[in-house]
Structure formats: structure tokens, C-alpha cells
Amino acid sequence: MNITLNGEAFIFTSGSSISDLLKTLDLEVEKVAIERNMEILPHSLYDNTHIVDGDNLEIVHFIGGG
């Protein structure tokens, strides 16, 4: 399955959830926010949201800034 992840082409296992993706990327759920196809995906939906081919995901976090 081909998706776009943070602007890059990314291949991931079909039928996976957002939580699966975060585990694979070694990211902590509570420290990120995710936009799926331009819409915010609440943390509570990560387990039950399945990624589909062509999805456009943005995963962001807080970094140092002024």
C-alpha cells in the first residue's frame, strides 16, 4: 500500500492502523498529532483508524521555537 507520509512516498502494510504505523516509526502517541487527508485525527481514533492506499498523512510534534 502506497501512502504519502510527511510529504514523502511511503510503503506500508495493508490493513494497518494509525497506531501500528506509530509503533513502526517508534513514535509515542501522546507526543504527536496527526492529520489524515487534511483533517485532524483525534488521538482516540488511532487504534481503529485503518490506513488506506493513497492516504496523505502528516505527523507533527513540538520542537524548539521562538
Binding site: 507520509l5 510527511n6 510529504g7 514523502e8 511511503f10 516509526l25 517508534d26 513514535l27 509515542e28 507526543k31 504527536v32 498529532a33 496527526i34 492529520e35 485532524i40 485525527l41 483525534p42 488521538h43 502528516e58 505527523i59 507533527v60 510534534h61 513540538f62 520542537i63 524548539g64 521555537g65 521562538g66
Partner: protein
């Protein structure tokens, strides 16, 4: 630390933003430090309670690694997500909605920039973004030009703090238009914080002497030769400026006025 400085810290002097009280009038950014350890130490030395943070894509190739939160605890400090780098209202709104989901809080700093050379705020876009964010339930602290009319519009819309620039972001030039800052302070009933352009401790003191509720800075501390020492200097300058403002300065005179009595002089 001296007893006098400690005494100031415990003063019952605070400002309030979106129902939260803050006693430190120095707000600091968390960017431009050489590493997270320096970030942590500088923020501790500054005494800040509010720290600004940016929202950026995670590095999908790097894994979690060390994160800002591991060094600057969001339970101890109020994280104020910003929209630095956003040049349209849409980008700023999108960024802050993500920030709200990442952090779980509504208090944000809105800035919409108009130009990459000056990083000057685009007030048309800022006003547009502020309206959408306020309607969406955000508590908006807003970075703006030092134009009193624009500042008034932002306050009337419902922004919870007005944050005019002292000088362009990262320039370190100090307050370029003290008259405008003073006009904004006088007209505003929400906190006014000078944001951006402070270079050294005296600039921060001047801002506070004008009657600002606080000062937000990043580069002045992070790019000092000794950032931790500068953080301490800024803390003291903010306190000194605030005390001077509350004390009420003497009037300026166009003539000399001797301090020692003229009576009883030996002849």
C-alpha cells in the same frame, strides 16, 4: 541568589491570560540553543513559566530520539505553540489545530508573517486567522505590528494577549517605537507583551518600564555568548523594569536639581 531578588519573586504581582495567572513576566522561546541541555538550563535560569514551541513534521526516518518534552516538562511549563513560519491564515490555523491535538490545550500564539526578509507580521492574514481560531475556541495570544489600530481590532475580536514587536524577529535592535508600544499599553485591557526584537537586558527593562505586562524573547538569550547567564540577566532586567514601572519614575527636568541641601553650607 540574593535575598532582594528572592523578595521580588515572591511579590504578589502577576498577570492573567485566559484565566491562568503567571508571576514570571519573562516568556522565552525554546529555539536556537546548541542542545536540549542548554535549552533546559537557560529556561530554568530565566524563571519563565511560559515557553513557546514550534510545530513541525516528525522525522520519519529517525524514530523518537530525544524530544523537547524530555528536557522541558510540559507539566512544569506552559507550552505556547506558535505558528512561526506560517505566511497565510490557513497555514497558521492548520498548525494550531495540530498543536491543540498534540498538546491538548487551547492557549496558542498566533503569528502570520508577511515577508521572509523582515518577518514582519501580515496583519490582514493575522486578523483573518484570529477570527477563525477564536470562533473555534482557541485562546489566542497574538503577535502583531506596533500599530495601535490593528492591536485594538485584535483585542476587540477577543484575543487574550496583544504582542507587538519591539523590532524585527531575531534582530536584537530593542524597542524601535516606544510611543506606539505605550499607546497600545494604554488602550488595552488585556495583557500587552512585547514580542521579538529585544537584544539585551536594558531593552527588556525599557519594555517593562513602559508598562508592558511581559516580554517574550528567544534569540537574545539563545544567541548570547553565555545563554544561561543572559537568561538570568533578562530575568533580573524584567524584574527591575517592572519594579521601576510600579515605583513610578521621577519627572524628567530640563535643568539640574541638586540632591544635597543648599542650607548649612560652610562659608
Amino acid at each position: 541568589m540574593s535575598a532582594a531578588v528572592e523578595m521580588l519573586n515572591t511579590d504578589n504581582d502577576f498577570f492573567e491570560v485566559a484565566g491562568q495567572r503567571f508571576t514570571s513576566r519573562l516568556l522565552v522561546g525554546t529555539g536556537k540553543y546548541k542542545d536540549f541541555t542548554e535549552t533546559k538550563k537557560a529556561i530554568e535560569a530565566s524563571g519563565a513559566e511560559i515557553v513557546t514551541v514550534a510545530v513541525r513534521r516528525v522525522n520519519i526516518h529517525a524514530g523518537k530520539g530525544e524530544m523537547l518534552q524530555d528536557y522541558v516538562d510540559p507539566k512544569k511549563y506552559t507550552y505556547l505553540p506558535n505558528t512561526a513560519g506560517c505566511f497565510t491564515a490557513e497555514d497558521a490555523i492548520r498548525t494550531l489545530r495540530l498543536a491543540r491535538e498534540a498538546g491538548g490545550w487551547n492557549l496558542v500564539k498566533l503569528e502570520v508573517l508577511g515577508d521572509k526578509t523582515t518577518l514582519y507580521p501580515d496583519m490582514e492574514e493575522t486578523l483573518r486567522a484570529a477570527k477563525v481560531l477564536l470562533d473555534d475556541g482557541f485562546d489566542v495570544m497574538v503577535y502583531c505590528t506596533d500599530d495601535p489600530i490593528a492591536a485594538k481590532k485584535l483585542e476587540d475580536m477577543g484575543c487574550c494577549a496583544i504582542m507587538p514587536l519591539a523590532a524585527p524577529i531575531g534582530s536584537g535592535l530593542g524597542i524601535q517605537n516606544p510611543l506606539n508600544i505605550e499607546l497600545i499599553i494604554r488602550q488595552s485591557s488585556v495583557p500587552v507583551l512585547v514580542d521579538a526584537g529585544v537584544g539585551t537586558a536594558s531593552d527588556a527593562a525599557v519594555a517593562m518600564e513602559l508598562g508592558c505586562d511581559g516580554v517574550l524573547m528567544n534569540t537574545a538569550i539563545a544567541e548570547a555568548k553565555d545563554p544561561i547567564r543572559m537568561a538570568r540577566a533578562m530575568k533580573l532586567a524584567i524584574q527591575a523594569g517592572r519594579e521601576a514601572y510600579l515605583a513610578g519614575r521621577m519627572p524628567k527636568k530640563g535643568y539640574a536639581d541638586a540632591s544635597s541641601p543648599s542650607q548649612g553650607l560652610i562659608k
